[in-house]
């Protein structure tokens, strides 16, 4: 609850900041300080210190899982703001407003992580989505950005409509929006519930860009300003995934098997389309968009397995994926050339940045000693606990092998090609330090995952 209220207040403060503060540096400092405060408040709540006593009527419940996840995402956002804030200047003139929108999105993130009522789920997803439509279109003169914003808006609100239909049908069957209640379902209402579940499954698959509902993702991620693509592809996606898993766990956990096959098909199709299409991309930004679809395929295993290992795996996966992707996007946002050739010879000209990028790419590909490997391992282990899922696990391993190809194309460009004509940008010292810290974090989590997972249990 701390983080939810403080992020809403910070959003309002940032909106006023746009008129009161003229210096870009002071706006940036305010946002970074606010983010630090937010992270601190959430960590204090994990320790049992609550600033606000609000009667929530059982609609929201901040349990340990939600709080740990939220702290992780807030840390990722803090690092994101430190790395990417200077790049937001290039997007447009409303510098402080972008931060305000980011804080409002974090408010929605807090809601979807802790919802216990479908009303809160709906509001949280909308509070995340509506600012994102604006951020996607924030580069007003850029036609690609306009197009991405319109596409994202139309498809996003369409999927919201589907989600609402699902919620209405589930309400018809259950008579309550609370996910905690366990009402008796009559056989006639069972059909309503199954139809509602199908709508919810499709619309949430839309939101997390699982194939075959992924077609908006590459266009939107490619067209949006790179700094905001980074935010969309990591923090928002991880938060919506938690909502997805929670929703199905709490609402449909007891009619086992009925939806599991659908999720298995979604997972297989997502892994296949994400990985195979990523191989053929020429632009690193677009490759990362497809890679985010492929990684969503792995995260769907948490939904498929629906057990303790799956939840631990989701936490670790979110950490590995968010840190690595934010790092790569932060470097990409400063590059002049977004193709693979743009990275040519970076190992020689910018050795430190190239080494950090290499760690991130190893983690995304799932090479041992990085967090990405253990995250994939936990996911597959969780899935194996479900009888009859060996084929899916084998398929996932095969697809992870395919993913090595396109991640290593960047590595190959950095280390085995000569620098081209376009020079690489200069990176300031603090950028190097933060990027190095993130790479270290990815390796530490890969060796000692208990540091993060242990937080779940006390």
């Amino acid at each position: 609850m701390n983080a939810l209220i403080i992020s809403a207040v910070l959003g309002v403060i940032m909106m006023f900041g746009s008129t009161l503060l003229k210096q870009k540096n002071s706006i940036r400092a305010l946002a970074t300080g606010g983010m630090l405060l937010l992270l601190l408040a959430n960590l204090l709540e994990m320790g049992g210190i609550r600033f606000f006593q609000v009667e929530l009527k059982g609609m929201l419940f901040f349990d340990q899982f939600a709080l740990v996840f939220h702290s992780l995402l807030l840390l990722a956002v803090l690092l994101y703001i430190i790395l990417a804030a200077p790049d937001m200047e290039k997007v447009g003139v409303n510098y402080a407003d972008y931060f305000a929108l980011l804080f409002f999105i974090l408010c929605g993130v807090a809601m979807v992580l802790a919802f216990k009522s479908l009303l809160i789920l709906f509001l949280g997803i909308e509070i995340i989505s509506i600012p994102l439509y604006i951020l996607t279109g924030s580069d007003k003169k850029n036609l690609k950005g306009n197009e991405a914003a319109l596409k994202y808006f139309l498809l996003g609100s369409f999927s919201t409509g589907l989600m609402l239909m699902g919620i209405a049908l589930v309400y018809g069957a259950r008579g309550t929006f609370s996910t905690l209640a366990n009402p008796a379902i009559t056989p006639m209402n069972l059909n309503l519930l199954i139809a509602g579940m199908a709508f919810l499954l499709f619309s949430m698959a839309f939101k997390v860009s699982a194939a075959p509902f992924h077609f908006w993702t590459p266009d939107v991620y490619d067209g949006a300003p790179t700094v905001f693509t980074s935010f969309m592809a990591t923090i928002v996606k991880a938060a919506v995934f938690v909502a997805f898993v929670r929703l199905f766990d709490e609402l449909f956990g007891d009619f086992d098997g009925k939806w599991r096959l659908w999720v298995a098909v979604l997972t297989a199709v997502t892994l296949f389309i994400g990985n195979i299409t990523a191989v053929f991309q020429q632009s690193v930004k677009r490759m990362l968009a497809y890679s985010s679809i492929a990684q969503a395929g792995f995260m769907l295993f948490a939904l498929y397995a629906m057990n303790g290992d799956g939840k631990e795996g989701l936490l670790l996966y979110a950490a590995a994926y968010c840190f690595a992707t934010i790092g790569i996007f932060a470097v990409l946002a400063r590059m002049k050339d977004y193709t693979f050739d743009g990275f040519n010879g970076m190992g020689k000209t910018r050795p430190f940045i190239a080494a950090a990028l290499a760690v991130f790419l190893f983690s995304l590909a799932g090479i041992p000693l990085t967090a990405g490997f253990l995250a994939k391992f936990y996911m597959l282990k969780a899935a194996l606990a479900v009888p009859g899922s060996a084929w899916l696990v084998l398929f996932a391993v095969l697809m992870a092998a395919v993913s090595v190809y396109y991640y290593f194309r960047v590595l190959q460009a950095m280390y085995f090609r000569e620098p081209g004509e376009t020079s690489h940008p200069e990176f300031p010292a603090y950028f190097k330090w933060v990027l190095g810290a993130m790479a270290a974090l990815v390796i530490v989590l890969g060796v000692l995952p208990e540091l993060l997972l242990g937080r779940l249990y006390f």
Binding site: L119, L123, A168, G172, T176, F177
Partner: protein
């Protein structure tokens, strides 16, 4: 009139909305169809709310506030829909300023 009729109307409106989104090419008409979908859901929620209330009264709960949360949800949908309209129309206007059209067939620059 039994509740089921309202549910049929809601399903019909929702289907019209979905078909409209999938077939029309004008961004504003697609947007109207999305609003139609949301309003179909509103109708459905109110119908279900009434249905649960009747069931509760039949079961002996005469306090009569069973099912009221469905009607409450409708207000939230209206608020969110209004927020979406403001953002959506802003995006469509921004698009129109740049390409002087709201036809989504123009949305193919991102395809390679």
């Amino acid at each position: 009139m039994p509740v089921i009729n309202y549910i049929y109307i809601a399903i019909a409106l929702f289907s019209i909305g979905v078909v409209g989104v999938l077939t029309r090419r004008n961004a504003i008409i697609i947007f109207m169809c999305i609003e139609l979908m949301l309003n179909a859901v509103n109708l459905m929620l109110v119908a279900f709310s009434k249905m649960h209330q009747n069931a509760a009264i039949l079961a002996g709960d005469l306090a009569g506030n069973a099912g009221s949360d469905g009607q409450l949800f409708v207000f939230f949908i209206m608020v969110v829909a209004a927020a979406e309209v403001s953002v959506g129309l802003a995006i469509i206007v921004m698009m129109y300023r740049n390409i002087h059209s709201v036809d989504i067939n123009f949305l193919n620059r991102l395809k390679h």
